[in-house]
Assembly symmetry: C2
Homo-oligomer: 328 residues x 2
Amino acid sequence: MTEQIRIGIAGHGNLGRGVEAAVARNPDMRLAGIYTRRPPESLVPRDPATPVHAMDGLATHGDRIDVLILCGGSKEDLPRQGPELAALFNTVDSFDTHARIPEYFAAVDAPARAARRTALVSAGWDPGLFSINRVIGEALLPDGATYTFWGDGLSQGHSDAVRKVPGVAGAVQYTRPVKEAVDRVRSGTRPTLSTREKHRRECFVVLEDGADPDQVRHAIVTMPHYFDAYDTTVKFVTAEELARDHHAMVHGGFVIRSGNTSDDNTQVIEYGLRLDSNPEFTSSVLVAYARAVHRLNAAGRYGAITVFDVAPGLLSPKSAAELRAEQL
Amino acid sequence: MTEQIRIGIAGHGNLGRGVEAAVARNPDMRLAGIYTRRPPESLVPRDPATPVHAMDGLATHGDRIDVLILCGGSKEDLPRQGPELAALFNTVDSFDTHARIPEYFAAVDAPARAARRTALVSAGWDPGLFSINRVIGEALLPDGATYTFWGDGLSQGHSDAVRKVPGVAGAVQYTRPVKEAVDRVRSGTRPTLSTREKHRRECFVVLEDGADPDQVRHAIVTMPHYFDAYDTTVKFVTAEELARDHHAMVHGGFVIRSGNTSDDNTQVIEYGLRLDSNPEFTSSVLVAYARAVHRLNAAGRYGAITVFDVAPGLLSPKSAAELRAEQL
């Protein structure tokens, strides 16, 4: 057994906890430390032997960690942390504000390159695994169309939006693909689909005392950007029902590419995920990419990279020869 | 537009014809020539302007072709052609005798390395895209199980085996996944499945005049290795029915990885293909990998490689910056 890859975790929310669980399942890695903005002594790591430090400690811990996994959010944390920490560590993050990826990539690339570090940005499943399948699908079937469906799944952003509606005491929102649309796409006919035709939204809402259900429902279904372009249903439940039936962070979805290789022949490629826990799965993706980042840095690939730059074999703990013999 | 990649085709069966169709759909490539063991003048290319040469011509055409796609068979052609031609060209092939891949890889690697050529072996969908999904699935969910199902699809090898049975005038064989098994796998329970539980086989057979159907059926269903471990049905049809209803080379299948990221949470990844034309799709894969081989050779990656060594972005005609902006 060669030396274990030393993983650091920056930020200990759902993603950070998922990374702890994932590293425990990968014998070629060990957890070198968790870094948090909370008081370190207040944090209970999964394995009591894992060192917990204040986030400030990172500046002097460059020699303790092979790859640092950034588990902060895309809105507040990563735009600042990503470029800063890529000057000190090899990093992996899950920056997922699609429209700002080029800008973020550039901001991380310069410091990583200067410090001869490797920084993989925007890993996870979307962006991430779904992106890979969009690129490969288009490359294999240039005469075709790509469709991404999300769900059935709990959307954090949309749940938060519902929770901000006056009169709402608690809520979750599920995104669901519309079956008819999925069936049409799977048939290979390349339909043109509106936002409303692709997904519907379903909200489970706990009302505040005295709130008017019709008013709340109307405020939700007409909310610009979040709900107005969708068919949205609102179901009212008790606080107990919400806690009991809607706490799991299920998610998933699929990417379908259909195309023609000749006039007669249609080909359909489908990649799908069904996830009991969105954050735990995302963390598993980040951890596998940490292995690749460790190898790419050793091979001299410096700067920012994305999942598009990582050969599949680099994700596996097995050697290239083992993979050829066992899994090709 | 940068210069087009010049593709050569060695061998003009179903795969070679599929490569012609695929190159026509990729504007960054052009077909530099088709090389055949038949009399070149007997071959009608899809585009009449495509030069057709005798296979012998390859030895002196090294400067006309950027990537040569080997479209011969794994049994007779590739074991000889692969190593020979990798000394003269960058190559892509679909060598698919799984058990002999390490040996074939080594035989191609040495001459390619010596000649500073890049030779991608065993591309296609299985081995190929399915292999990638087996590797990624295992890397993401180390505590899990992988299942590969094939079909519904026409199997050439099994069809040939049926055609050799005395009394058979014509036949095709379809491989079909067993729905109950697929459902159990999709549920994430990681069942242990026997060969018989995973797939069934269905044969459509035209009898020779005077042949005994019961004898033919018995000879098929008890055939060692090909059929004895499966539930096999044999249906007798007329030559007209066989020609009319069973000429399409449909195929497909799926790779499912299910695993746990914690005791509570099961995650399921599924990659599936539904193909109207198995050879045309395989050819499309070979052509996309030819683009990657061209780039990897320019970057100094010499020797034999497999799909495990190719980053997804290299398959696309788009630049890394375009892919990040549009498809991440």
